[in-house]
Symmetry: C2
Subunit: 497 residues, 2 copies
């Protein structure tokens, strides 16, 4: 009946850029998602889940980097030959959902967590399937919603045990950037092509430094490898305007606003941007979020082309030692912005919206590297071993009894001997093994083995191990009725159960 009968052997392999995630990391991710959800719920956001697959035109083409292979998405044709694709973010599907539900009470405030898919060049910490956890307010132009994005970002990171001072939410406004562009355009908007090139240049500040940005804004830049990136082609006095803007120090929010205002003061769009940031500042001050948590930072661009106003990101301000031993800054774990035109793609009516997304896997990597992660639900710490199949009924009853007492318990269902069973117990993280052989059966007793004590002993004592073991029993034999109590007692040694 088996499909494989006589067929060619299949090579077991995984797609590149994808991974199998095992117990410890999954428990950690589950813990993170639960904490984030609690914060989002605290602010009144409610859950939504949209499909993994959508029509390609519904998703639109908003990927941060347009020159990824295959347009950056996993696309296929459905049975009617329409192009469909795996979602690459959770914002495009949200816009589609809002457009399809005109009777939704607005503002619609939802969160969504799940994997998204991008055809990117895989690399360390860079996967083609990764988790995002978004929250958005759709249907309001109020800057209170944008201020709330910053507050939620702070609360979320603190709920994940990242202390104040170890993260920073950085805010800018696309309208301010457009104001700067208008200034250097001599009061007129610069061509869209040039505008994009300028924003891309600023976005590279972290990587290429101020001198690098200067080259990218002007004639272009050749990197160490010899590759040449063409510049935005600005004249040097235009480059100076941008550099003056980037030089504004983000330490004091009111001061950033004053200096920015001075720079863009002549332009309507710039003024509007400064005004919006002022509203955000007010709300943050009222709620008690000072510049040590939320700064206004002229260097923040955020890649997505659909942002229309405030943009946000949160960075971790400490370094983390990576696999190759080099300490790196973790960079952005949280990003978002206002996107007032995204629903209008479907409805032709402007539905202002703002929100942000947490890169769950990135945050998970950071917290794991920091050793900051609490554990998820407890795994079974008790193994009921099987010495003799004649006693299977008894083993079964013991496992049921331990589980009924609230102790997660595995009954060994394999077919190997007791020595291998102890090894299995240790390698799957068990702390206690329950053992019943002929002696115990006859005397209605149970032997209970502390697997960690055994381990510690065997490492510490070397030669003297045997003598020590005789004195300090890692294994005790108790009456059958005492089993649960004794198992609990051993688990308590390790603060478990």
């Amino acid at each position: 009946m088996s499909e494989s009968g006589g067929e060619a052997r299949v090579e077991p392999r995984r797609l590149k850029g994808f991974r199998d995630i095992t117990a410890a990391e999954l428990r950690a991710r589950n813990w993170i998602i639960t904490r984030i959800r609690e914060v989002y719920e605290r602010y009144g956001f409610v859950p939504l889940e949209t499909p993994t697959l959508e029509y390609v035109d519904v998703l639109g083409k908003f990927l941060p980097d347009a020159d990824t292979p295959e347009g950056g998405i996993f696309a296929l044709r459905d049975e009617d030959q329409n192009w469909i694709a795996l979602r690459y973010d959770l914002t495009a599907p949200l816009s589609r959902f809002v457009a399809m539900n005109p009777d939704l009470p607005l503002p619609y405030r939802r969160y969504q967590v799940g994997p998204v898919y991008r055809v990117e060049k895989p690399g360390p910490g860079r996967f083609r399937e990764f988790y995002q956890f978004d929250f958005d307010s759709v249907g309001t132009a109020s800057m209170l919603a944008d201020a709330e994005v910053c507050m939620v970002a702070c609360d979320t990171l603190e709920a994940l045990a990242i202390p104040r001072g170890a993260y920073l939410v950085r805010v800018n406004n696309r309208k301010v950037l457009n104001g700067v562009l208008e200034v250097l355009g001599g009061g007129r908007p610069v061509p869209a092509e040039t505008a994009r090139a300028i924003l891309r240049s600023i976005d590279k500040l972290d990587r290429v430094g101020l001198d690098g940005v200067k080259l990218l804004l002007g004639p272009g830049r050749r990197d160490e490898s010899g590759d040449f990136t063409p510049g935005a082609g600005l004249a040097s006095e235009q480059v100076d305007v941008v550099l003056r803007y980037l030089a504004i120090s983000p330490d004091d929010r009111r001061k950033v606003l004053e200096e920015t205002h001075r720079l863009v003061g002549d332009t309507d769009v710039g003024c509007q941007g400064v005004e919006e940031l002022a509203r955000i500042d007010e709300a943050l001050v009222s709620a008690g979020y000072q510049a040590d948590r939320v700064s206004f930072d002229p260097t923040v661009v955020r890649g997505l082309t659909y942002y229309t106003g405030p943009v946000f990101e949160a960075v971790l301000t400490f370094g983390v030692q990576e696999e190759d031993g080099i300490t790196r800054q973790f960079g952005s774990v949280f990003g978002g912005g206002r996107y007032d035109d995204l629903v209008a793609r479907f409805t032709r009516q402007r539905v202002p919206a703002t929100g942000a997304s947490i890169g769950v896997d990135r945050l998970l990597a950071a917290l794991l590297a920091l050793g900051k992660l609490q554990k998820g639900p407890a795994t079974a710490k008790v193994l009921v071993t099987r010495l003799d199949d004649r006693y299977n009924a008894e083993y079964q009853k013991m496992a049921v009894e331990l589980r009924s007492a609230g102790l997660n318990t595995e009954l060994y269902v394999g077919t190997q001997g007791v020595g291998k069973q102890f090894k299995y117990a240790s390698s799957t993280g068990k702390v206690v093994a329950v053992v019943v052989g002929e002696d115990e059966m006859k005397s209605s007793q149970v032997s209970i083995k502390d697997l960690r004590l055994g381990e510690a002993v065997s490492k510490e004592l070397g030669q003297d191990r045997k003598a020590w073991l005789e004195q300090q029993p890692a294994q005790v034999t108790v009456p059958r009725g005492e089993m649960v109590r004794k198992v609990r007692e051993i688990l308590a040694r390790y603060s478990i159960g």
Copy 2:
């Protein structure tokens, strides 16, 4: 900067067979998943997450119904022109994972929850993306593992508040079925084609009744609509063997074993199947799972071709009224079996395995229809309204204070008047609205409105509403310092908070 500028309007639409799942249902699903996870953990299963996408040959072709459109899967080519596809179950990826990790301690006992994808004809309650929650023991041939599958199924359904007696786990063994086939083949295996046709016929018992199965085993059957299904072509004495087998009553496990043994007694495979079921019975008796929870049922086949031994399903034994008003049996919510050859597709070495899968969405539909569902995490029940933007700082502080007190609270961030805000509060499930206007600001007070009381009053009293409201204030005004206490008091009326 916007992508949509000047482009054609995109029609907001969803793929057929896919859906958007909103807050109430998601909270319910989250509750279900948490309960199931607790049971799986109680038995020592640990989490695993494999990718959504796999190579097509790795997944294999094991779909229950081969004549689904497009082979039943969502497939595409990756950038190297290899065929890849969205997983259609969680078992094929598990087998691939085990084959890729030869050093895994065995038995490897994992659970996995997530969506799977099938190109099926969409219908009521039938979707192309749906959640499964699997658990499996890989690397053991012991029937203790199979007995455990039954126990876990019972414990899971009871953890979901489905009482004993309202569900039944039904067990059969493919080896017994093969024994029956050998008997009617006169001691020799029947051709694979015929065997499949016979199993398919038995599998349709629920739908076509015993007379229908009789026709399907013999010459074929014409249904009410006039469609003809060709039969397995058995002679009438062969049909009788199958019918005698199907007539064995599943009430008493030992009796089923005796009668089955009598029927298949001559065949090795049949005897082996009976012997395996006897081991399962022993384990279940030891653990206290009697025939009111787990029955041996000759009519159980389970579709998947890869099963090699015991097969399981759990059915809900009560009817549920569906949208069209007709009460229907819910049928199988849980299915599985032993599949000893699945890892060997990759390794050429037999790795015996057994497990089962819960259809989360089906169970969710059943529990929702029953009104049996507890709620997930509490949504925000408090809305801080905004009467006057001059007081935004105060509104912000009030929201922060309520949240700090542990009350999930939404600050209204929209731009409409207070009447619309109350409507918004009710339609998003809020119970309390906090109101501060000029009067309250001047007197350092807060007005607090019980939104449910208001609703009840307006419905009950009709004309007398105004007079009643004056006596029984659904809205009270208290000093600012009393806000949290008063909000809590109102929430307590509805057992919230």
